[in-house]
Structure formats: structure tokens, C-alpha cells
Amino acid sequence: MKNDTFKKITSQRLFLPIFCLALVLLVNILTTPNFFAIEVRDGMLYGYIIDIINRASELVILAVGMTLVVSASAGTDISVGAIMAVSAAVCCNILTGGERAATVYANPLILGFIAAIVVGIAIGCFNGFLVAKLNIQPMVATLIMFTAGRGIAQLITDGQITYVRVDSYRTLGASIPGIPVPTPFIVAMIVVAVTALLLKKTALGMYIQAVGINKKSSRLVGIKAIMIIFLTYAYCGFCSGLSGLIASSRIYSADANNIGLNMELDAILAVAIGGNSLGGGKFSIAGSVIGAYTIQALTTTLYAMHVSSDQVPVYKAIVVVIIVALQSPGFARWRKSLAQKKVKEAA
């Protein structure tokens, strides 16, 4: 009986991703005793844990968009980091009115935000057009924006870092007065909730999976496969634009070379760590979100252990391989054969 409940828990789809996240966090009990301490300073929460949920926000948003893209088109969008840079550049450039630094807004804040999101969606549509309509392999199609994106961002900002030194611009990346939780976390949660609702309450979620599993047959049963794939890319563009804004607000500037750098890799990793197949089809948004937090938890843990930033990748790589190996079919096979051996021995 007891064995049964244990099996039920371990066979849950999200069990392994959550287990891995817990494992990463648990390491800290041994190495950094004050890791779980949360304190309140000036009405704001502080601590390593808060740092993780704050810093992971962009990644969570990207992972949501990436999950849909991966599911529908069985490919990855490697341009998300570059889109972040473009949207940040557009927003800052509008807010400064074309100057390289400003202490007052030249245009309303909302205009900058909307323009940045629109640009994100537009680039997403471009990617979507190439993938869905022209049938180009996703990674190759997005390689174009991956290469051009930072160039365009530099073109917009004239190759310099553009600063918006207005306090209200920092709200999105820091906190709203009176609310102790960091704003990026709230935004990320809204995106996750809205996406989940949209997928659950409409048939979109099912359509996306159907297209991912078999494009041809889903078209034959009447789903507009091309449209669905196009939409996922547009949505991924929206997510990238939004996280570009958050990243830019954190540093109240647009840095074309560094905003969203290597974020595409982390986003794809988050999707995979969350137990989703990169081959398309069935997906779990919750899994990707957990994956994103796992990656950030890992990075923060390493920093808490005083590993220097350019050496972090080595440990990250090792842990990632272990996590993915634990979830791999190869490992499951090995476990199964081991169990069978045991049964045989017992008999």
C-alpha cells in the first residue's frame, strides 16, 4: 500500500523536475546556512530565495514562449535573446527621444513599452512567417534574427548604451512601492497564469500539441497548422519583448551587447529540464517554469558558494547533465532492468 502511493508520486510527470529543484536548493543547507533566511528591509523582502525568484523572472517568461514554440514546431527559437536587446533598445530610445541619456521622459512611458512589445511581436511574426509559411527549419530561420538582432539594437542606439535615468522607469525591474514582492516576479506570474488559462480554457493548447505531434494529420482534421505555428512564434516574440523590457528596467538602460546574452540557451534548457521533449508535441508549462527556477537556483547557489562567474558554466554543465540524465529514457531503462534483476533474484 505504502509502496503504491510512493509509486504514484514518483510517476507524476512533474515529480522529477520538482525533485531536481529541491535537490539543488537542499545543497545550500549544507554549504550556505543562511540561504533560506528572508528578511524585511524598508518594506522589501531580501534573501537568496527572493533573489532567485526575482532574477529568474525573465527566464520564466521566455521559457513560457519557448515551450509553445518547441511544442508546435519541434524546433527552438534561438533569437529570443536578440529580440530582448532590440525591444530594450527601442523602448529606451523612445523614452530618451533619441538621446543617449535622459533624466526626464521625452515620450510617455507607456508609448515606449507598447513600441517595445510591438517590435518583439513583429520579429516573432517574421520568424513565424519563415518557419510556418516558408517551411524553413526553426533553428535556421531564427538564426537570421539571432545574427541580426544585436546589430539592429546597436543601430537603434548608435552603438552606445542608452540610459533612462528616471526613477519610475526602474519600477518594472525593481519594485512597486508598498508591495514587498519584486515586480518582475509578479509580471512573470501574470504571464504564466494568463498563458495557462488561455491554453486550458480554449482549445489552443490541444491544437498546439496536435500540430506538434503530427502536422499533416492535424491539418487534415481541420486545424490551421500554419496559423498555429505562426501564432506560437508571435507569442514567443511577445514574451521576449516583455522580458527585454524587464531586463532593461533592471539596469535602467539599453545595452545592445549584453541584454539577454545567452538567454536563448537558458530558455531552451529550462524547457528541457522541465521534462519537455525538444521533439515537439506534448508539453507542460509548469515544467518549463520549474526548469527556469532550477537554472536560476543553480546559478545563485554557485555564486553563494563564491564560484567566479566565468567558471560557473563548468559546474552548471555538470549539474545539468546529471539532471537531464536522471530524466532520460536511458536512465529509466537501466532502472527497469535493475528492478527486473532484483525480482528475478528474489524468485
Binding site: G75, T76, L130, L134, N135, I136, Q137, M139, V140, A141, L143, I144, M145, F146, T147, A148, R150, G151, I152, Q154, L155, G159, A256, L265, I268, L269, A272, S277, L278, G279, S308, D310, Q311, V312, P313, V314, Y315, K316, A317, I318, V320, V321, V324, A325, S328, P329, G330, F331
Partner: protein, 337 residues
């Protein structure tokens, strides 16, 4: 029947690539005729500066034909260069053992990645992404500062010019100057021919196509799918080792940020050359032309000379876009027929 169509498509894509390359080079010769774009030496420079990329592109193509991908190559090149530089300058190891150690590291790297992909069934993108992180981080662990290579043997290899007996011109002093290449180019082209023959005429080569085309059928035909995949990654690892040595002979140093984005160059070259990311289709000759096209685009930008760095990126992307879209449209028209 299906197989025949696929092969036809491969050669068709290859044809497009080759025609476009010569068209592009021709345009360059016309546009920059006064600056000597059309000189034999300039043509050879395309090979000289990309010998490493050609070799790594071969490895990438082989892996891509199995339906996989390897995005760790850029970081591996950085690690390989750093290892060479550190061993020869700080470690007191001779050039020959250093080169052998890098080759062995490449094989081990390929073995580990191949094992994870083939036997653990982990997605190639994720495995090699981890490999990418690992190699880049390792480069920083070996040394955070740039190391320049001064080893005499290694320098001699790097500077050994091989003059071609034709294509020369008489300079202002009336001396006949022949165009030259470096040994790196010879190595790269020899490996290319070897890979071409291997893929086309050996059992292993054909089984790579079979595994990439349809894993299930390959399995049913009695192929050891896992073993073939593992071998492909080991071969890729070895070629990465060779590629990083050739790259190092060109740059003569190692630093953490080296060869960043190199993996995308390699993937783009393979794809432009007609290799499909979905597996089963591809050709190393196409990859060679893919590299040459990328090199020609870069040569355009150097000859143009006034573009700011961001325009370089945008131009490369625009040409890439033009190329990929054209390829896709042509393939679609062909399919419709």
C-alpha cells in the same frame, strides 16, 4: 522511391549552393575589381582563414545527418586553443605532444557527448549545450588571461607557406609572385575528401544516412543505431580537435572569449550547403561551399571597409536570410513540379 527523391533533393540543394557561390564571387570580382578581389591569392585566402571551420563543419555535417546537432564546437575550439597555448607556454610541453593531447581530448569529449546522446537518449541540443558551457568554463579555469604562443615548432608550422606553381602574377619589380596556401588548408581539404569518400562509399557512412533518415527502419534493418550515433559523435569530437588546432595555427593564442558564435557559423555553413537539421540529408561538399559563401560575405565586408560593426552583423544576416529563403522557395517549386 522516397529515398531516391531525397537524394535528388540533396544534389539539387547542393547545385543551388554552388551556383550561388560562384554568382556571389563573380559579383565581388566586378564590384571590387580595382582592389584585387578576383586575385588567386584572395580566393585562396577564403580557404586559409577558414581551414578550421571547414574541418569543424565536416564534423557538424556528419552529426547533423544522424539527426543530431553539436553546439559545443565554438567553446571546444576556445578550450583547444587555450590548452595548446597553456601546454606550450606554461606547461613546458612540446608542440607534438600538445597537439596529440588536444586530439585525444576531442575524442574523449565526443565519446562522452555521444554516450549521453546515443545510450542515455538525451536530446543532442541539450547534451552539447552542456558541453558548450563546460568547455567555455574550462577555458576560464585553465587561464583567465590571454596566452600568446611563441613555441618555435608551432610557429614554424603556422608560417610554412606552400607556393602553388600556377596562378602567379608579375609584381612591379618584375618578380613573379606565386599564390600560396598554408598546410592547414591541405589538411582541411584532405579531411574533406576522406569524409566525402567515407560518407558515400563505406558501410559506416551509409549507416549514418540510414540512422538519420529513419531511425526505426534503420533499427529494423539490423543496424546498431546507438553505436552508429556514438561513432558519429566521436568522429565529430576528433574533427573538433583537428579544427581547433588548425584554428589555433591561424590565431596563435588562446583566450576565454575566443571563437564565440563559431558553432552558429558551422551550423549555418552546413545548412547553406544543403544539410537538413532533421537528419538523413547532407553532403560535406555542400558544407565546403557553405563555408566559402560565409567567407565571401566576410570578404565583401572587409573590401567594402566602411561598414560599422553592427552593419556587418545586419548584412551577414540579410544575406543569410536571402540565401535561406531563396533555397526554400526553389526547393518548394521543385517539390510542386
Amino acid at each position: 522511391m522516397k529515398n531516391k527523391m531525397k537524394l535528388n533533393q540533396t544534389s539539387f540543394l547542393l547545385l543551388i549552393t554552388i551556383v550561388l557561390f560562384f554568382a556571389m564571387y563573380g559579383i565581388g570580382c566586378v564590384l571590387f575589381s580595382t582592389q584585387g578581389f578576383g586575385k588567386t591569392q584572395n580566393f585562396l585566402n577564403l580557404f586559409i582563414s577558414n581551414a578550421g571551420l571547414i574541418v569543424i563543419g565536416i564534423g557538424m555535417t556528419v552529426v547533423m545527418i544522424t539527426g543530431g546537432i553539436d553546439i559545443s564546437v565554438g567553446s571546444f575550439v576556445a578550450m583547444g586553443c587555450m590548452m595548446l597555448a597553456w601546454m606550450m607556454e606554461k606547461g613546458g610541453i612540446g608542440a607534438v605532444p600538445a597537439v596529440l593531447i588536444v586530439l585525444a581530448t576531442g575524442i574523449v569529449f565526443g565519446l562522452v557527448q555521444g554516450f549521453l546522446v546515443a545510450y542515455m537518449d538525451i536530446q543532442p541540443f541539450i547534451v552539447t549545450l552542456a558541453g558548450m558551457f563546460f568547455a567555455r568554463g574550462m577555458t576560464a579555469i585553465i587561464s583567465k588571461d590571454m596566452i600568446s604562443i611563441t613555441n618555435a615548432t608551432f610557429m614554424a608550422w603556422a608560417k610554412a607557406k606552400i607556393y602553388l606553381p600556377f596562378g602567379g602574377y608579375v609584381n612591379k619589380k618584375g618578380v613573379m609572385i606565386y599564390p600560396y596556401i598554408y598546410p592547414t588548408v591541405v589538411i582541411a581539404l584532405l579531411l574533406l575528401v576522406a569524409a566525402f569518400i567515407m560518407l558515400r562509399y563505406t558501410k559506416f557512412g551509409r549507416s549514418i544516412y540510414a540512422v538519420g533518415g529513419n531511425e526505426q527502419s534503420a533499427l529494423m534493418l539490423g543496424l546498431n543505431v546507438r553505436k552508429v550515433k556514438l561513432k558519429a559523435y566521436v568522429l565529430d569530437g576528433f574533427l573538433c580537435g583537428v579544427g581547433s588546432i588548425l584554428f589555433c595555427l591561424n590565431t596563435l593564442g588562446g583566450f576565454v572569449e575566443q571563437a564565440k558564435g563559431f558553432e552558429m557559423d558551422a551550423i549555418a555553413s552546413s545548412v547553406i550547403g544543403g544539410t537538413l537539421l532533421t537528419g538523413g540529408v547532407g553532403n560535406v561538399i555542400g558544407t565546403l561551399f557553405g563555408v566559402l559563401i560565409k567567407a565571401t560575405i566576410e570578404a565583401f565586408i572587409t573590401f567594402q571597409g566602411t561598414l560599422s560593426s553592427w552593419w556587418t552583423r545586419i548584412t551577414i544576416a540579410a544575406l543569410l536570410c536571402f540565401f535561406i529563403v531563396l533555397q526554400s522557395i526553389l526547393a518548394m517549386i521543385k517539390k510542386k513540379k
